[in-house]
Assembly symmetry: C2
Homo-oligomer: 391 residues x 2
Amino acid sequence: MISVQNALEIIEKTSRNYGSETISLEAAANRILSTTVYATINMPPFRQSAMDGYAIRQTTRIAFNVIGESKAGDANNFSLNADEAVRVFTGALVPDDADTVIMQEHVEREGEKIQINTMPKKGANIRNTGEQISKGNLALAKGTRLNSAAIGFLACLGIAEVSVFTLPKVAIIVTGNELQEPGKNLPIGKIYESNASMLSAALGAIGILDVQFCKVEDDFTATKEAIASKLLENDVVLISGGISVGDYDFVRKALVELGVEELFYKVNQKPGKPLWFGKKDTTFVFGLPGNPASALTCFYVYVLPLLRDLGGYGKTGLEKVSAKANFSFHNKSGKTLFLKAYLGNDSVDLLDGQSSAMLHTYAKSNALACVDANTVNLSVGDIVECLKFDF
Amino acid sequence: MISVQNALEIIEKTSRNYGSETISLEAAANRILSTTVYATINMPPFRQSAMDGYAIRQTTRIAFNVIGESKAGDANNFSLNADEAVRVFTGALVPDDADTVIMQEHVEREGEKIQINTMPKKGANIRNTGEQISKGNLALAKGTRLNSAAIGFLACLGIAEVSVFTLPKVAIIVTGNELQEPGKNLPIGKIYESNASMLSAALGAIGILDVQFCKVEDDFTATKEAIASKLLENDVVLISGGISVGDYDFVRKALVELGVEELFYKVNQKPGKPLWFGKKDTTFVFGLPGNPASALTCFYVYVLPLLRDLGGYGKTGLEKVSAKANFSFHNKSGKTLFLKAYLGNDSVDLLDGQSSAMLHTYAKSNALACVDANTVNLSVGDIVECLKFDF
């Protein structure tokens, strides 16, 4: 049995590969760039008017003849004499002969003649070519998370596809004769299966939508075959249940026979003591406890940072927040505890129903309050480290 | 022209309807329950063993004959005499005749005989029927956001479908002759369209994936027809561009002719002054500025809280965080400013490229620093209210 810290370190140090793929810009929101993107055009691509107004050549005169109009999208590059102006609109091409745009509010127009009230500085109200970015310059660096503005920025450079880190392919295997599908009748001795949909929800929240799913009975051969097939096709295999030492817990034996290297088994924590972690080739395997609250806690604490890292997001798990305890607690277990909690502005409440089999208060919680294995007494007002989640 | 505060209040006070729909539990992650859910079964549905061990009747004796085995999923309810035990595993049905489960670690077994080292309290290691929740009791209240644990909790009650608030149907109309699709050649005078993909990314981040899209030229009839068709089929219509006072800005005129009630037009802010907001029947319309940074800022500040509320999430927009300014700023505009910023632990930096046409630094920002219209001078160390975003 190893410590929580040790288990996290083992996961963090396990070597891994990062994949990348080219996808449409529309599909790339919130993904991580796997290559640096350079601008293939100037932005703006031409001198744009920043206002509705009149394009002229800077001069001391105040009267001009309007010889044409350039609206957004027009390609006409008017030739201008010193006494001539072109009507321009926001975003329109400013003729090469013009060097200044006068706001329409500063102009009086009669027919095709205008008189200006205020002459702005030379270059006023013109967005110069490449002002935002010049062709060939770095647009967004490798490792950038594509927020909405980044998607817009790449689109405005004409980029329709980007190279991003692939999200890991994940399979969920749930084990247990007792598991019945929700929506069906429940025979005596059975319970409804909940870990698959719960873990799918958590995976979906971090963008992993294409999840393989498989349910197996407590049977060695079936367990081994299910794991073998999922190992081949996935980057991460999550197995729930069957990892304890009971006579019908076949997962560990199956993993060993399949040549999955055991990197740790059993962590000095509650819930989630029988957590198993291993790797075969490039595929990681977590043997999660079957109890739903244990499975979800182990997902948040151990699985999430690995999945995020594989997707290029860095080795980041849940956000850590220090908060004052609104409760006292006696930790007689000698284990690190992850307690269902509700984190307020700067304090944290403990919720009922801490049993690893129970989800009813987990459903209303937004954090895990972490009590270290060495902390025996926690008093009201003590600072507790919390792991915050919103999914 | 109205103040930012006034504009936000007008949106907040506009009457609205909330829709609901019944969807599969798998699809309901992160959605909001529109009806309270009651447990239709006891959970656990029967007395479960919490351990691998032996079920017995509490007694002073220490030796028992093992008469059978109950593994998880088995339905066999053994009759037990005082000197008899049943081998049980975690999650298995505990026979009605038994009242205690002895952990296997506290038992020595030879053949079908066991001897126990430590007799636990009566009731030990048994999860009683309905211990987590009893049939008929409130499981999750209307208004609960379904996090992963809530999905698992409903699944364990056998619930396969839930009633949730519908997410608003949204259409994006982008206007402008100058707009070219990314991935195609860029003729002189044109720019690549970026608002549709940018706003789609922002909508996707809050779960709104089914977005209608339409691009129209700067033509009154085409603009009016496009808006008319989108009004009919959507809860919120976002129009980008065409809302200023230029000769080719037809959006406002089209909205008026279509009978969309103007609730405000023009806000004393930068960027986003020409923001338009109105409503027809149950459909809300935002006329967003065409400049990408203005459009996104107006989305974050004004559109987001309405969309969230329509989806049942409450009138919540971006998270507000107070932070120390790492910059000084002179606000000579008399307007409320929303500045592209990067929020660190407790301080905030201003980014370059504040122009409303520019997205390159918005792509690297994670907050808008809000400078009130009445704030003329902001000094290093002053507290600035920031709107934080991660999408």
